[in-house]
């Protein structure tokens, strides 16, 4: 698997430029692409979420705002300009810093969270050969980088000097750190079976055998543990205890407004996209077409796996997973803190450990 970074470096090497110029230029290009992806993702996902939630509650959602006079469909897909207008509103809003807040940390916190999400994208494969930098420890890198955000959350909650913020931050820290364990255990299954931490190798293993979710009953279970855990990791309902509108106003985001709040928002939706892409890459065959999920069809069907369609498949799977996350949100009430901890420590972790044990046996036997 050739990464974008490598191919760009090869392209620029023909120009005989100093490496000190080429490397930052490539990094800047990659960063711009990631940032645009995050921004567009937030715009689309928010609109998508508002529409999904509206339909599940027998409403219509945003219907009035259009782009350049085009309002979208008259009945159900109207208001396509709504999120754009919201984004503009957010950027021109007053940026409030409370008097007694820790100013430095409070300004720093959203950038740490944003940086965590931003860095995660570097190792994220969007398709074959479509990854900013192809690490041979890709899975490990993503797990590590997505944990950076929790530092930002704790800083945000602490620096706001607000009891709701602090409660929210404490809950978030407890929740995110706890749920990283089942996530790690589930990913460990894949690594154990595929024998690699590299996303390209994992997908190649699935192309050679079958989608990992269908590899064994244990991997099937592992997918659900993983998926529910990433919902908790991204602080989405029913695991939105850190933000809990009805209890904590907005949790650790209570005192934030304007651009800094927009950064939180951006990171939140970016995290949703990241975990969905990771789940689809690791368990659902990544850029492989769904027709080959059991790898039983003749070779002629393989054209659908081609590199051109890879991006489409990855995003299709990711969008379906995001839809399911939204579906969760509008179905389930929020868990209590103790229920959340029960679910993690008493259900997911024992099952994850058992999974790991049994899949080792499975690998030995078959």
């Amino acid at each position: 698997m050739t990464s974008i970074f490598d191919s760009l470096q090869i392209t620029f090497s023909g120009l005989n430029l100093d490496l000190m110029i080429v490397l930052p230029a490539i990094a800047l290009m990659g960063g711009t692409v990631i940032f645009l992806l995050m921004a567009v993702n937030a715009l689309v996902a928010v609109y998508f979420e508002r529409k999904v939630s509206a339909f599940m509650q027998d409403r219509l959602g945003p219907m009035e705002v259009g782009i350049l006079g085009f309002k979208g469909g008259k009945r159900f897909w109207g208001g396509i300009g709504q999120t754009l207008a919201d984004a503009i509103k957010l950027l021109v809003k007053e940026d409030i810093l409370p008097n007694d807040a820790d100013r430095v940390l409070m300004i720093l916190a959203p950038f740490i969270i944003f940086t965590g999400a931003f860095l995660t994208f570097i190792g994220l494969p969007f398709a074959e050969n479509l990854v900013i930098s192809d690490f041979n420890i890709g899975v490990f890198y993503i797990v590590a980088m997505s944990s950076v955000g929790v530092i930002g959350i704790i800083l945000a909650g602490w620096s706001s000097n607000n009891k709701w913020s602090l409660y929210g931050a404490m809950r978030a820290a407890a929740q995110i750190i706890s749920y990283e364990i089942p996530i790690g255990l589930s990913l460990l299954l894949v690594v154990l079976v595929a024998g690699s931490l590299n996303f390209g190798d994992i997908v190649q293993w699935q192309a050679d055998n079958r989608w990992f979710i269908f590899h064994s009953p244990f991997s099937f279970l592992a997918f659900f543990i993983f998926f529910i855990s990433i919902v908790a990791e991204t602080n989405r309902t029913p695991f939105d205890i850190p933000e809990a509108e009805s209890e904590l106003v907005a949790g650790w985001m209570t005192e934030y407004s304007g651009f800094r709040w927009a950064l939180f928002f951006l990171s939140e939706y970016a995290n949703m996209l990241i975990v969905s892409i990771v789940a689809s890459t690791v368990f659902l065959g990544g850029w492989l077409s769904p027709l080959q999920m059991f790898n039983v069809l003749p070779e002629a069907w393989l054209f659908l796996d081609g590199p051109t369609l890879g991006l489409f498949w990855v995003f299709l799977k990711a969008i379906i997973l995001i839809f399911v996350m939204m579906w969760f949100r509008w179905t389930f009430p929020r868990l209590r803190v103790d229920q959340l901890m029960y679910l993690c420590w008493k259900v997911f972790i024992p099952f994850g450990l058992a999974n790991l044990f049994f899949i080792s046996l499975w690998e030995l036997l078959f």
């Binding site: 999904v52 339909f55 599940m56 027998d58 409403r59 219509l60 219907m63 009945r75 579906w327 179905t331």
Partner: protein, 483 residues
């Protein structure tokens, strides 16, 4: 242990049940949507009444509407309204004019035209009481039983409160003028002008009456002096605060009341003070203390302001300044004497601009009119009556002499002045005298007498009736000189 697995099983089951339910809503979205896209779609308006079955009472609380063609300006609805949200102005054409006010749909000959019929729907309480007294049945709630006359309108929300005031009168200015309503139009325009001026000057001009300074040059010279005056009396110009030094509560109240009334009537300081003194002595509250306070109030200002003039000009000018410092101070109202509407507008605009910039107002108005080619002899004469006081010394001399001399002569001098407003007579305190003065005024106006003639008539009439006291005389004198 089995409970643990049972719980997990139950959890997964209920999880799936819930997901199924929400998905069914998601899929069936078209049938189930409860939202009404309000401005685009509306529920049908229900047929309804106010609770009991009576055709007369089958009303709908919507919006009042007036078929103005049928309105005979009988004022019955205005009187009936418990919250006074209906305002009607009407103009009755003079008897000798052949102005036709039209017929109503009931074949009643209308006797007057309605120049204003406003309903403030933000005040309306939908009691329907205005509807029944109407002899022509021209005011009603729209919709419901009246749907045939006017379609339902229950959503008249506005972005500004003024939008809730509905004007129904449709008489044009020409019609009103034809019916003899110039005066009404003038008053209305004055009101509008005043309002607009207020908006323009908001925050830029103090409420207090500016010190009587005529030209900027003079203002500069008199400034240091009047500043000392400020120190002396506590307030440079007469303000309502000035009366706080009166210790007696009652007296203070009376003084303040009179001051406010006088200020509204547009009187100058000396007149105000004499009014206050009059009011206090009427109440038997006048003490030496108050007298000294009142004396102390205007004196420093008046004296100090006039002193530089004395040094600057001939000694003859003393009487003018001393009599009334504002004698030639041009006011916006004075421009109402200009007949041509366009010219009046231009003049007023120029006046306000000059007032703000602190320039010579008369000069500015004159220039503006000249530029617009609207400067005719009448308006020139009007303007020159203001310029005369401080233009050139050779021009000044005869005028000053005449002003210093007997009143009739100064009356002749101000003959060019337009006839003053009947409202100016409102500051006559005594009811009888006021009525008499107004009667004479109206008679004089009909006979198209000049200002000084009218005033002379009023004086004669009042002194015949033994009603001419010093206050009225002073007022008339001031009116005569046009201040």
């Amino acid at each position: 242990m089995s409970e643990y697995f049972n719980n997990i099983f139950y959890g997964v089951k209920s999880f799936l049940t819930g997901m199924k339910l929400t998905l069914s809503h998601f899929k069936n979205k078209k049938e189930l949507v409860a939202t009404l896209q309000y401005p685009h779609e509306k529920w049908p308006v229900p047929e309804r009444n106010i609770g009991f079955d009576h055709a007369e009472y089958n009303l709908i609380r919507s919006r009042l509407h007036v078929d103005i063609d049928d309105c005979i300006a009988c004022m019955q609805c205005e009187k009936a309204c418990p919250v006074d949200c209906i305002k009607i102005d009407s103009i009755k054409p003079p008897k000798d004019s052949d102005f036709d006010c039209g017929m109503t749909s009931n074949d009643t000959q209308k006797k007057m035209i309605v120049s204003r019929f406003t309903i403030d729907m933000s005040e309306c309480m939908y009691c329907n009481l205005c509807v029944f007294p109407c002899p022509e049945e021209c005011i009603y709630m729209v919709g419901g039983p009246n749907a045939s006359k006017h379609e339902i309108d229950y959503e008249f929300s506005q972005y500004e409160r003024d939008g809730m005031i509905f004007e129904f009168a449709d008489a044009t200015d020409e019609q009103i003028k034809e019916a003899g309503g110039e005066k009404w139009i003038e008053q209305r325009d004055a009101k509008i002008n005043k309002h607009e001026e207020g908006i323009k000057l908001e925050g830029e001009v103090k409420i207090a009456v500016p010190p009587p300074v005529t030209t900027p040059v003079k203002a500069d010279e008199s400034k240091p002096v009047s500043k000392t005056a400020v120190k002396d009396s506590g307030t440079g110009e007469l303000e309502i605060k000035s009366f706080n030094s009166i210790s007696d509560k009652m007296c203070r109240g009376i003084a303040k009341k009179t001051f406010t009334a006088a200020k509204r009537a547009g009187k100058d300081q000396t007149a105000m003070l004499s009014d206050i003194a009059q009011a206090l002595s009427d109440m038997g509250k006048m003490t030496d203390e108050i007298q000294t306070i009142l004396d102390g109030l205007p004196a420093p200002v008046a004296e100090h302001v006039t002193e530089p003039e004395i040094e600057q000009k001939e000694p003859e000018s003393i009487p003018v300044a001393a009599e009334s410092p504002t004698i030639f101070e041009m006011d916006l109202k004075d421009l109402n004497g200009i007949e041509d509407k366009m010219a009046r507008g231009i003049a007023k605009k120029a006046f306000i601009a000059a007032k703000r910039a602190g320039e010579d107002k008369v000069e500015a108005v004159k220039n503006a009119l000249e530029d617009a080619g609207k400067l005719d002899t009448a308006s020139e004469a009007l303007l020159s009556s203001f310029t005369a006081a401080y233009s050139d010394s050779e021009n000044l001399d005869p005028k000053v002499e005449s002003a210093g001399d007997e009143k009739p002569e100064s009356g002749e001098q101000s003959q060019d002045l337009p006839l003053f407003d009947i409202k100016d007579l409102n500051s006559i305190d005594e009811k009888m005298a006021r009525g008499m003065a107004k009667k004479i005024y109206t008679a004089g106006k009909r006979a198209e007498k000049s200002r000084s003639e009218v005033i002379r008539d009023i004086k004669a009439g009042l002194s015949d009736a033994g009603k001419l006291d010093s206050a009225i005389e002073e007022l008339l004198n001031r009116l005569e000189t046009g201040s």
